[in-house]
Each structure stands twice: as structure tokens, then as C-alpha cells.
Amino acid sequence: MARKIVLTSGKGGVGKTTCCALLGLGLARLGARVVMMDVDIGLNNLDVVAGLDTRVMYDIVDVAEGKCRIRQALVSHPQAPLLYIMPSSHSLNVGKVSVEDMRRITDELSRSFDYILIDCPAGIGKEFYRAIYMASEAILITTPNITAIRDANKVASLVIGCGISDISLIVNRVRTDMIAKRLMIKPQDIAASLDIKLLGVVPEADSIAAAACQTGSVLGAKDNVNLFLDIARSIHLGAAEQRIKRGFRNLKINKGGII
């Protein structure tokens, strides 16, 4: 069964989709089968950010309406064969996909993938809850701006209220020069203020900004790719450690040793 991780923030423009794409790539490079789901119906961008927009034939609305099978809508990445996206629709009719449809699709995807990364829309409307109800873990994305952190804090309360207790934090667009001049809040202080474990700190990167402005796709940018590989590793190995611990707990020990 796949781990279903939602990337959310509350505030728009903090880098959720970029982080989702880079994290997906990182996990796929570790050998995990990853599908990134864009549930921002109508304001879809994950396909462009992943550089797969020209390959999209069907989308999640087509799957929900029975126009195609899930496998037909999935698009794989040519440079990372284990990385797929489930594209969102560009139709502005956001009410077309119900929570039940989403659950059915994620349950089916869960059988074929190790990770389902859910790119959550900004805001806290119906679309937000539709994304949260599909997930079992959450990664909050924020920048060091007070407004973004404040929204992340509110979203954390909503996520916990929806029954997700496994929440971690990525602080995006950090500038160490500004931290040194005490003009920017340290990611550790942000995590402490939110009382959420810090999963990663992502520096502001010119190559990502340039890629976003020129091609839209960030997966070819040279910066931060290795950093997200490290973040992916801590998610992936963290799960492995938990599995080992669970394994040890399940072992029965008698006089003759472990049975």
C-alpha cells in the first residue's frame, strides 16, 4: 500500500507544486514508484512544473467520469521511469470530481505505487478538504514570510482536525545571507513556533526561478535536486526504520532465542 502524502500550505505561491515535483523525482531516484496527483482542478500546474504537459492525454476528471481507465491517464516521466503524474483537468468545473471519486482513484493507485504525493490547492475551501481527506500524512510548505507561516499554522490545525497526525515542515526559499543579517526568521525557529518537525530547508535558487520563468518545468534545474534527494531519503528511510522497529516489536523471544 502506498504512503499518501499531501503537500499543503494554505497560502498560494510558496512552492507547493515545485516541492511536490522535486520530492517526487527524489523518491523515484531512490527506487520508489511515485505518482504525483494534481488535485488543483481548474488551476492545474503540476503537469507543466514536471515538464509533462505535452504528454497529457486524459486527466483525473476523465477517470472520475469513466471516460478512461486510471492507467490511461497516468503520464510517466521520460528521465525517471518510476515517476508518474495523474494530471488535473484544466476545466474550470471543479465540482466534477467528488471525494468518493478521489478516494476510489487513490485506493486503486495505492496498489501500484509506493508513494502518492498529493499537490493540494491553495486556500481552505472544498478543494483543500478533498485533497486532505485522501492523505494519511502531510507536509506543510512555507516560506519564511510571516503571512505564509501564519497560514501554515492555521492549515496545520485543520489537517490535525481531519485526523492526520503525521505532519512535517519544509521551509522554502530560505536565504542564509538574510538570516545572517537577522532579516529572515531561521527555519528552526519557524518549526519551533509551529511545533512541527522540520523535514527540510530549501534555499532560494536562481536556476529554479529561471526554469519556472522559461520552461515552467523545474525538474531540469541544477539547484536543489540533490537537496530534495536528501529529503526524499529521510522520508523513505524513516519509513524503513519504522518498519524495522515494527518488525522487532512483532518478534517473539523465547529461551531459545528469536522465533
Partner: protein
């Protein structure tokens, strides 16, 4: 003297201010759950209980609860 960056001071202030705005009816729901729990151990009416959620200076929630109880249920007879 406060040594932390100005942004962090402001952030803490904003987050604490936000905590003042609890969702409506949260206190009612918490109160109702506590009431149900306490009914297992004591004879109380709704009017005997007052509860309130406040914030302390560090931004922690403090639940204040005052209950007047007419009679405790004897342990052997708990329902």
C-alpha cells in the same frame, strides 16, 4: 533585552493572537465531552459545570473547568 530577530517576535505575536479565535462551539463540544465523562463518577447537572478555554502568556491553551457536584458515585457502583 530581547535578542531574537524582529520577525520572530512579530511571528510569535501573530500566532498567539490567532489562538484567541477558537472555532465557534469548540468550548461547547469540549464541555459536553467533559460533562459526559464526569457523569460516570459524580451526580451533576449541566448547570453545575462551567468551562472556558483561555490562553496563557506563553500562548498555551488553558482549560478552566469548575464543577459543583452534589454526590460522588461510590466506586463499586459505577455505571
Amino acid at each position: 533585552m530581547n535578542n531574537e530577530p524582529r520577525g520572530l517576535t512579530k511571528l510569535k505575536q501573530v500566532l498567539i493572537n490567532d489562538k484567541h479565535f477558537n472555532p465557534e462551539r469548540l468550548n461547547d463540544v469540549v464541555s459536553s465531552d467533559i460533562f459526559k465523562l464526569l457523569q460516570n463518577y459524580m451526580e451533576i447537572d449541566n448547570s453545575d459545570m462551567m468551562s472556558r478555554i483561555d490562553l496563557d502568556e506563553q500562548g498555551n491553551y488553558v482549560l478552566r473547568c469548575k464543577v459543583k457536584c452534589k454526590r460522588l458515585k461510590i466506586m463499586g457502583l459505577l455505571s
